[in-house]
Amino acid sequence: MARTMRGNPLLTAAAALALLAAGGAGWGGWSWYAAAHDESAAYATTRDEVLAAGEQAVQNMNTLDHRDLRRGLDTWQDSATGDLLAQLTGGRARFERQIQQARTVTSAKVLSGAVTELDTRAGRASVMVALRITVTPPKGAPAAKESRMLGELTRTPEGWKLSALGQAPVGNTAGTAD
């Protein structure tokens, strides 16, 4: 045996290289498997999905054009689930009348957003979305204001949707509101 190896350096070298390559393949395969099944990576991916869905939904809920109310409110309902959806559906007729009278065009821009809580098992998450909302009345200049939104999302078969949405209350830590 030793004689064979000594007598054939080519074979020895080839065997050593093959062994090295096998080691590399084993390590690479394991590393790939580990990366593909990394729980925190999956969690991170979900976190980013939740943020994207949350920002989009919050923006949708702050966008409305009185000239195209039906589509706007359909988008609202598509972005919502649970209690929020029930509220929207219940108040829709009254809200439509209000907007038709006010004849406003509202648009929103997401300035920044963050996921504050994420429970992937329960399918619930909380987000903060900093918004700039611009309301254009039928006459006069558009008015912009910043809005500190807090949203809760719930996982549905069609993706993450808002189940609650509101503004961070102002001044609750220091007394009355502004």
């Binding site: 390559a21 690479g28 990366a35 990394d38 990576a41 300035l111 957003g113 963050a114 001044g171």
Partner: protein, 259 residues
């Protein structure tokens, strides 16, 4: 079977010892030998080729081994060298192919793993790294509370907060933001209090981070006979850098708002 192999090896060793200088290998005459006869010596002589110990031709082995070992034994000598030399280029070639395949897989798998790990989602450890996320939130909350609170009667506290929590560009930004307060503080006996109500970690990438902050502010003028307080809401983001185990605010992003 292994006893047979032992025997073979032993015989071969003995044979080598007896004839330290075997005759030069005879010309290749492997062809005429046919596959049946080749197998014996190949298996006997090559450790890598012994995967089939239960081969029906094994009884031939001792013969083959003797042949490989004894150069003088006529026809046996003719068989001996060819089987040894013939697989030589083949086995290294096979190993070479194997090396290329395995090496290729190794490179590919490592690349896939790196790609999976290097996505922006995976690099951002906000929320995934629970300890670091809560440490960051806690420290940024404390820093903002201290940095944006100002008591005309305790200006040293404010200066200490600046040294403790700010770095880089944020030092100048903070000075500009607090300048009006500082200018009026003494005369109006101002007490500005900032309380972070919500904070959310947008990003943690190693020692860099970005946090979205909602804060309430109350500003009390105590100079007048009747103190008056105004309340305000603030939202902004801070970029923080971890230095010496503590997060410091490096940039204050007012999200496009003035001030």
């Amino acid at each position: 079977m292994s006893t047979t192999r032992h025997l073979i090896n032993r015989r071969r060793r003995l044979a080598t010892a007896q004839a330290p200088r075997p005759a030069p290998p005879p010309p290749r005459t492997d062809r005429p030998d046919g596959p049946d006869r080749l197998k014996g010596p190949v298996r006997a002589g090559r450790p890598g080729a012994g995967e089939h110990p239960g081969h029906p031709e094994h009884p031939e082995h001792p013969d083959g081994a003797v042949r490989t070992g004894r150069p003088g034994s006529g026809g046996g000598a003719e068989d001996a060298s060819p089987p040894r030399s013939r697989p030589r280029p083949r086995l290294p070639a096979a190993l070479g192919v194997l090396t290329v395949l395995l090496g290729g897989f190794a490179a590919w798998a490592t690349g896939e793993a790196a790609a999976l790990r290097d996505t922006s989602a995976a690099r951002n450890t906000a929320l995934t790294d629970i300890a670091r996320t809560s440490e960051l939130k806690g420290q940024v909350t404390k820093a903002v509370n201290e940095l944006f609170s100002y008591d005309h009667a305790a200006t040293a506290t404010a200066d200490r907060a600046i040294r403790a929590h700010l770095t880089g560009k944020a030092v100048g930004q903070h000075r500009a933001m607090l300048a009006p307060v500082r200018a009026q503080a003494a005369r109006q006996k101002l007490v500005l209090t900032t309380t972070v109500t919500h904070s959310g970690v947008e990003l943690i990438d190693g020692d860099r981070a970005r946090v979205l902050v909602y804060a309430d502010q109350s500003n009390t003028r105590t100079a007048a006979s009747k103190p008056e307080t105004t309340y305000g809401a603030a939202m902004f983001a801070v970029e923080a850098i971890r230095k010496d185990g503590a997060w410091r605010i490096a940039v204050i992003d007012t999200l496009g708002a003035g001030s």
